[in-house]
């Protein structure tokens, strides 16, 4: 094995000592996410696994899921779909296509209900529906568009944040401010000043460096073949959206207008003829 490859392997397999004991104690930080179902309506499933050499004391996870512009979450009905999480309100224009000005990429923050009391391992499964938007039609194959979902970010907050974790200066660079908790369940609003999560108070969380599960591949190259290499799964999850065929535009437009006008004219002519027959019959 070449030294650079060995070095990469070391980087991947062994946590680099960061100086932050809490982070350094973590052995596994994996997020495995996927989109299930075909069509415009998907189930977004993210499995998070965090394990540490030290017990997690009263710790809770939060997941920041970036929703791309070509998709949206129906936040009105979202809570009824969540079993073990709640979310911080976000406003999506659910009616607009991908190319509309009001369709924007934005994150949704999910907080796990469960608190890890004294555990070495935290497992969490997040599952919620996400919907794809209509995309602009095209006159060039392929007649589908790709919607990429970037990796979610995972944050953690623990009971001993203030006393232990955040007291460590080396841990400060992992601290991020995200919404403390979920929305209070009041109806969504269109108030322009509200951005996703901005109306909720912010709290300090540690951002974890979660990665998709490692994928093993065989190296059959000149080096002697067969030795496995471990690479992180780094590709975004991609969904495909069917597109209309713009080459049919003229046919469809003129065909629809002519067809409907023709139907009405035929009906009214029949009406007129029927009246005459009734009078003369």
């Amino acid at each position: 094995m070449k030294p650079p490859t060995l070095g990469l392997l070391c980087l991947l397999l062994i946590d680099i000592a960061t100086g932050c004991k809490f982070i350094d104690d973590i052995r596994e930080q994996i997020v495995d996410y996927e989109l299930r179902n075909n069509g415009f309506h998907k189930d977004y499933v993210a499995k998070v696994r965090i394990s540490s050499m030290e017990r997690f004391i009263d710790c809770r996870l939060a997941v920041k899921v970036p929703i791309p512009r070509g998709a949206y979450v129906d936040t009105v009905n979202l809570q009824s779909s969540l079993e073990k999480h709640c979310f911080t309100d976000a406003v999506f224009d659910v009616e607009q296509p991908e190319f509309a000005a009001t369709s924007k990429a934005q994150p949704v923050y999910f907080h796990a209900d469960r608190i890890a009391r004294k555990q070495f391992i935290i497992d969490d499964i997040l599952n919620f529906p996400v919907h794809l938007r209509y995309h602009a039609s095209t006159d060039v194959a392929p007649f589908h568009a790709k919607v990429s979902f970037a990796k979610p970010e995972v944050f953690i907050t623990c009971g001993n944040n203030e006393t232990t974790i955040f007291g460590d200066a080396n841990c400060r660079r992992y601290v991020h401010k995200i919404p403390c908790a979920c929305s209070n369940g009041s109806p969504p609003t269109t108030t322009p000043s509200k951005k996703a999560g901005s109306h909720a108070p912010l709290c300090e969380y540690l951002r974890l460096n979660v990665q998709p599960p490692a994928k093993v591949s065989l190296n059959s190259g000149a080096q002697g073949g067969g030795s496995p290499q471990v690479k992180p799964g780094s590709k975004d999850v991609v969904a495909l959206v069917p597109l209309g065929d713009a080459r049919h535009r003229s046919l469809v437009v003129w065909g629809t207008v002519a067809f409907n006008i023709g139907l009405v004219v035929v009906t009214l002519v029949y009406l007129g003829v029927n009246v005459e027959e009734t009078k003369t019959g």
Binding site: V76, Y134, V253, T256, I261, T267
Partner: protein, 437 residues
């Protein structure tokens, strides 16, 4: 659904005045109607309570997504805010006011809509009995079973209201307008039309041409004298113009009040949005695909809007000219054509014309097997569209073109149904004149 043969026999002598019901019989009739209305309401309530169980266990809710919109808007109003703070709330603000009790009792709106359904049923019974009396139907044959089958116990109408769809209120306003016109209370009808029907949903404005001509013919002046005489009579149709002015003025007054209360956002969401909307997502209307492919081309979008307006206008005026004396059939055909040719068409719009079916059922001489064929064809057209919509929406297959074609097929089926009903329609005058021959 056909009148008894004896009444259609050309040689039938002029009948003696029909004996009216005795007081005990009338009381019994009213009691029977009350029992039926109560049973229909109870069934709807059962669906409302079933919705709570269904929504808890299943991901796809029984409750209409619009009901959530109404509810949120009503809660905003209860909290002293504007209902238009709720995204996608595009209805009258007064609807949110009426639904304020939802803040304490979430199913209030559904129960209200179901109750409105029952009032509609009661009005249909009254109108149908008046029709039967006008056609000289004997007391023992004075049946309103069409109302029961086509409205009160129709699963489609029951479920639509129980799911929380507000079109029951619009149907009530439209039918009240018809009822008041039939009772010659045209001013009250104009107010109901403007304040109720058009205010809640703008579409009832399509009945104005037929109402104008109906009131023209009610003036009692001679119908002969050619085209120019007819035009002159139209110009002198005081009641017709007054009806339109009262209706549109009362509607304008409600719009002004809405603007005063909630500003431009109310006007846009409540009114202007519906005229400017380009819904490119798939629905029963064949216009979804042309609009989707034409996004970004303002010229083509305007052409499509005009192309949608022209056949609708032709149908509205054509049916008004022909059937203004038979308002029930006229409004059925007008609404049927309007919904079929609209730029957006969803299942809930079907209620807009189903409401008239109990009132035209006794004027159609179509045989029962033929009627069943027409109904099956109507469902088959929807089934074909739903098949391709399923492949697109839930399987991600590119079925835009066949979906558009199936939309055209559905419109064609609708118009073949309309032509069949036109062919088999017995006008009220022909029914009553056959009686007197």
């Amino acid at each position: 659904m056909q009148l008894p043969a004896a009444l259609l026999h050309p040689n039938m002598a002029k009948p003696a005045p029909l004996p009216s019901l005795t007081a005990p019989d009338k009381l019994k009739q009213r009691a029977d109607e009350f029992k039926v209305l109560t049973a229909a309401f109870s069934l709807r309530l059962a669906f409302v309570f079933y919705a709570q169980i269904h929504d808890y266990y299943f991901h796809v809710n029984f409750t209409d997504i619009d009901y959530k919109v109404f509810s949120d808007a009503a809660i905003h109003v209860a909290n002293g805010r504007s209902p238009y703070d709720r995204p996608t709330y595009r209805y009258s603000p007064f609807l949110a006011w009426i639904l304020v009790p939802i803040a304490k009792f979430p199913d209030f709106g559904k129960i209200l809509f179901c109750f409105a359904d029952i009032i509609v049923g009661w009005l249909l019974i009254r109108l149908r009995r008046d029709q039967n009396a006008k056609f000289g139907v004997p007391a023992e044959l004075d049946s309103v079973s069409d109302v029961y089958a086509l409205w009160l116990f129709n699963p489609l109408t029951m479920i639509i209201s129980a799911r929380g769809n507000a079109d029951a209120l619009v149907s009530l306003a439209v039918l009240c307008t018809l009822y008041l016109l039939r009772k010659d209370r045209w001013i009250a009808a104009a107010l109901m039309h403007g304040l109720g029907a058009v205010h809640l949903r703008v579409y009832p404005v399509i009945y104005l041409p037929s109402i104008f001509l109906y009131l023209l013919n009610r003036n009692g002046t001679s119908g002969s004298g050619g085209f120019f005489n007819w035009v002159k009579r139209c110009c002198l149709n005081f009641r017709g113009f007054a009806f339109a002015i009262i209706s549109l003025s009362s509607f304008a007054a409600t719009v002004a009040i809405c603007y005063w209360l909630y500003g431009y956002k109310c006007i846009f969401e409540f009114l202007l949005y519906h005229f400017s909307r380009y819904d490119i997502r798939h629905n029963f209307s064949p216009y979804f695909y042309p609009m989707y492919l034409s996004v970004g081309d303002e010229g083509l979008l305007k052409l499509i809007s005009l192309g949608a307006f022209v056949p609708q206008a032709l149908a509205i005026v054509g049916f008004a000219l022909k059937y203004s004396n038979d308002l029930e059939f006229c409004w059925f055909l007008t609404t049927f054509a309007f919904v079929s040719l609209n730029k957006v068409c969803t299942s809930q719009y079907f209620v807009w014309y189903i409401i008239f079916t109990p009132l035209i059922a006794n004027q159609i001489k179509t045989s029962t097997p033929k009627l069943i064929t027409l109904i099956l064809a109507w469902f088959a057209g929807q089934g074909l569209w739903l098949f391709f919509a399923y492949l697109l929406e839930l399987q991600g297959m590119n079925t835009f073109l066949p979906l558009w074609l199936s939309s055209l097929v559905f419109v064609a089926i609708n118009f073949s149904i309309a032509i069949t009903l036109i062919r088999d329609h017995l006008s009220p005058t022909s029914i009553t004149s056959k009686k007197t021959q």
